[in-house]
């Protein structure tokens, strides 16, 4: 059993981003180490390096002083390192027992013994006290139980080092209690545990040491007992963030209602109603999977609506496709920039002109000069850092990519009335974040209604005029700017 796992000067670069730089710290046996940081601070990258999924550009991992090189997850697992990822790594078509044991199923003379497999799985399930069966298909379990299967998988491997990447996000309080008890047991057994989470209360409950990352750098290591919430937040967010918000030039003149949604029902959304006024920034908060993205996608015509009424400028509308929504004046900056927002291998100008191609035509041909002008204006307006409008967007940084999408929806060929942002600051650096915040306020000032979805509570609280909190497909409450605190939003978001 190893006594400690040391990160020694780890550095890693991705296209356009230095994800990690000179990370050095030590995780010790029998202690729980919290890895803390905002989205995009580099926690996930660090976990991936630890699990052998990524190789560091510089630095190394040490176990008890011996360098440990993992060229693939296989090597990391074999040497006793398990990482439970945020994105569940399950095989939905297989049973619980098959998922827990994978290819390490108990064997008799080389042949998998289903009996032993079932028995051993049942033992683990009992230990966790869960109401599931070894032979159930994992794809039919709820998200929370799927997550528990993941955790049981790592538990079964009996690894020396276990890392949890935001394990509690989909779990209920009882499940969390079970998990924490288990983590306590693992800790007592002398395992090295790394625990990644946003939730500060959890951190104080179960961890012993805290390492804080910010923008890919280590900003603080501290023992949990010797710090408090305020200090942690300051370290995570950086001292300038408060100033960023106070310097925002906000809009304070609200106009009439522009968007009115009544009883919206889809596969995932159950009866959501709200109104949005001109010049208003309406925040949406909630945990991952609460249904925020689904609400805006349904409004935008991207997902089918089962029932409900949407009024835009007082007129009832029902969009069959995003095209209809765009023509009516709704624009969506989607959650996943690379998967849903951009055509990565096309140029900046192609990505900006996408929705307005039909307006920049001469006869049947595209007016390429008008297109270039359109793109140039966007580059100037948002000071996008690019050598030219023909640059392929994959080569731009995250922040500039986000600006390209903004440029797309706010070009002078568009008449956007409602602008929807879904996690617009995910994975972009602090400087650009501040720019995005100001832009959001500017759009509101220009008279647009803005919907702002974010998982970073400080962000929503400081940007939005009012915040709708969602849980499990329902709106559980509306909090006005004056009353918004992390506590009362979280309480609504985790309503059980």
């Amino acid at each position: 059993m190893s006594r400690y796992l040391e990160f020694d000067g780890i550095g890693k670069a991705f296209p356009g981003v230095q994800a990690l730089r000179g990370i050095s710290f030590r995780a010790e046996s029998g202690r729980v180490l919290a890895l803390l940081g905002e989205n995009g601070a580099g926690k996930s990258t660090l976990l991936k390096i630890m699990s052998g999924d990524l190789q560091p550009d510089e630095g190394r991992l040490l176990r008890d002083g011996e360098p440990a090189v993992f060229s693939s997850p296989f090597h990391a697992i074999k040497s006793g390192i398990s990482v439970i990822y945020q994105e569940r790594q399950i095989m939905p078509m297989m049973t619980v027992m098959e998922n827990i044991f994978l290819d390490d199923a108990p064997r008799k003379m080389g042949v998998v013994s289903r009996k032993a497999l079932k028995r051993q799985t049942q033992e683990i399930i009992d230990r966790f006290g869960l109401p599931i069966f070894p032979t159930e298909t994992v794809g039919r379990l709820s998200v929370a139980y799927q997550q528990m299967v993941e955790i049981m998988k790592a538990y079964r491997r009996n690894s020396d080092v276990i890392a949890f990447d935001e394990p509690t996000a989909p779990l209920t309080d009882t499940e969390i209690a079970i998990l924490f008890k288990l983590i306590g047991e693992l800790k007592a057994a002398g395992k090295i545990i790394i625990y990644v989470s946003h939730r500060l209360t959890e951190i104080f409950k179960i961890t012993d040491d805290i390492v804080i990352l910010k923008d890919g750098q280590l900003v603080k290591t501290v023992e949990t007992g010797r710090t408090d919430e305020r200090e942690l937040i300051r370290a995570m967010v950086g001292r300038d963030i408060g100033d960023t918000y106070s310097e925002l030039k906000r809009n304070d003149v609200l106009g009439e209602t522009v968007l009115d949604v009544q009883d919206l029902v889809t596969d995932v959304v159950h009866g959501v109603s709200f109104t949005l006024r001109k010049g208003e920034v309406l925040g949406f908060a909630g945990l991952a999977g609460a249904g925020r993205t689904e609400v805006v996608r349904a409004i935008f015509g991207a997902d089918p609506i089962i029932s409900g009424q949407i009024k835009l400028d007082g007129k009832t509308v029902r969009f069959k496709s995003p095209r209809d929504a765009i023509d009516a004046g709704i624009a969506l900056c989607p959650e996943d920039r690379k998967e849903q927002g951009l055509v990565l291998l096309r140029s900046l100008k192609d990505n900006i002109s996408m929705p307005v191609l039909r307006k920049i035509r001469r006869a049947i041909f595209l007016d390429k000069k008008a297109e270039v002008d359109l793109a140039r204006r966007a580059v100037e307006k948002y000071s996008i850092k690019t050598p030219g409008v023909d640059k392929v967007v994959v080569e731009l940084s995250g922040g500039n990519q986000q600006k390209v999408i903004l440029g797309r929806w706010t070009s002078d060929k568009m008449t956007t009335k409602v602008l929807i942002f879904d996690e617009p600051t995910k994975g972009i650096d602090v400087g650009t974040k501040a720019e995005v915040y100001q832009m959001v306020c500017d759009f509101a000032k220009a008279g647009m209604g803005v919907i702002f979805i974010s998982s970073e509570l400080t962000e929503v609280i400081n940007i939005a005029d009012a915040i709708l909190v969602m849980h499990n497909g329902h709106i559980t409450g509306k909090v006005n700017r004056e009353d918004a605190t992390e506590e009362n939003i979280l309480r609504l978001a985790m309503l059980e």
Partner: protein, 321 residues
């Protein structure tokens, strides 16, 4: 000066260079007969039919799809036309019906791919099997002779004394589709859908509509190609242009159309087609057995795909830089 250097670095230049080298090599190896008029005619004949398939496959691949049934569809269409002519249908109507039949086959593939979410290759493979069955049923496996003079003229006639009609049609098609793809909204939509269908949809483009149009187009062009082939050889058989969809795809990929979609163009595809044909014809003129040509066609397809992969990974590398 600067644009000259840019041209030398471009993909097009490399392609033209390869073509020139191929021509010179075959010219030397064949002691000059490679460029003799009657061999040129051979090249033109074998090229024109495939050129329509190259266009169809090229556009479809740029949008991220593939149609493996075109050869079978084209062959079926050739037989269909011959049968219609035998039945005494006036030739323009017969031609139109034939192309429409090809287009319908394309639409069926599009339904399977879009509505039932089949992978394009397996859906179109099944379509190929079905159309192949129908072509045997219609023709009973026998060749159908085409006697219609007008149709014969389309297939093997010349204008201005030496320009084959089919060549004119093929070049015109390349120009029209080339302009369509590079200069119009529709063409741009095809590239955007091929690059990222979900992003395109969320930006107000209809990926489904694009895919239907392109399958329709590929089927219709397949029908046209099968028809022209039958018209040229003055009979329609069950072997017709079967499997030549692979030539079309190979030519397009050789010419820089990305197999994964979103990149490449018809100009490149045209040069790819010339390269492929120069190569095939060169082998023929050197007296290499047609069986080795089957062998070579596989090798060239694999080579083109490797080239495509190399291009993609170079793009990925430039991403990291």
């Amino acid at each position: 000066m600067k644009s000259g250097r840019k041209f030398i670095r471009s993909k097009m230049f490399t392609l033209l260079l390869v073509l020139a080298v191929l021509i010179v090599v075959f010219l030397i190896l064949s002691k000059g007969s490679f460029l003799r008029p009657n061999n040129m005619k051979n090249i033109v004949d074998s090229m024109t039919v495939v050129s329509f398939l190259t266009i169809g496959a090229g556009c479809l691949m740029i949008s991220g799809y593939i149609d493996l049934s075109v050869g079978a569809v084209g062959t079926l269409c050739g037989i269909l036309m011959a049968k219609l002519l035998v039945l005494g249908v006036w030739w323009p109507i017969a031609c139109l019906l034939t192309i429409a039949a090809g287009a319908i086959c394309g639409i069926i593939s599009a339904i399977l791919v879009n509505e039932l979410r089949f992978q394009a290759f397996i859906a179109t493979m099944a379509m190929a099997s079905i159309t192949q069955g129908f072509m045997y049923i219609i023709s009973s496996g026998q060749a159908v002779i085409i006697n219609d003079a007008a149709v014969g003229k389309i297939g093997s006639g010349v204008i201005f004394g030496y320009l084959p009609v089919t060549l004119v049609l093929a070049v015109a098609a390349f120009i029209i589709y080339g302009v369509l793809m590079s200069g119009t909204k529709f063409g741009r939509d095809v590239y955007l859908v091929g690059g990222n269908p979900e992003a395109a949809r969320l930006a107000g483009i209809y990926p489904k509509k694009i895919s239907y149009i392109l399958f329709f187009n590929s089927g219709a062009l397949g029908g046209l190609a099968g028809m022209l082939f039958a018209a040229r050889v003055k009979s329609a058989t069950v072997t017709g242009i079967i499997n030549s969809q692979f030539s079309g795809m190979t030519a397009a990929i050789l010419g820089g159309v990305s197999f994964g979609g979103g990149a490449g163009g018809l100009g490149g595809a045209f040069v790819g087609l010339l390269i492929l044909n120069a190569f095939n014809n060169g082998m023929m003129i050197l007296g290499i057995s047609p069986y080795w040509q089957t062998f070579a066609s596989g090798i060239i397809l694999i080579a083109a795909l490797m080239l495509d992969y190399a291009r993609a990974s170079r793009r990925a590398r430039s991403k990291l830089a």
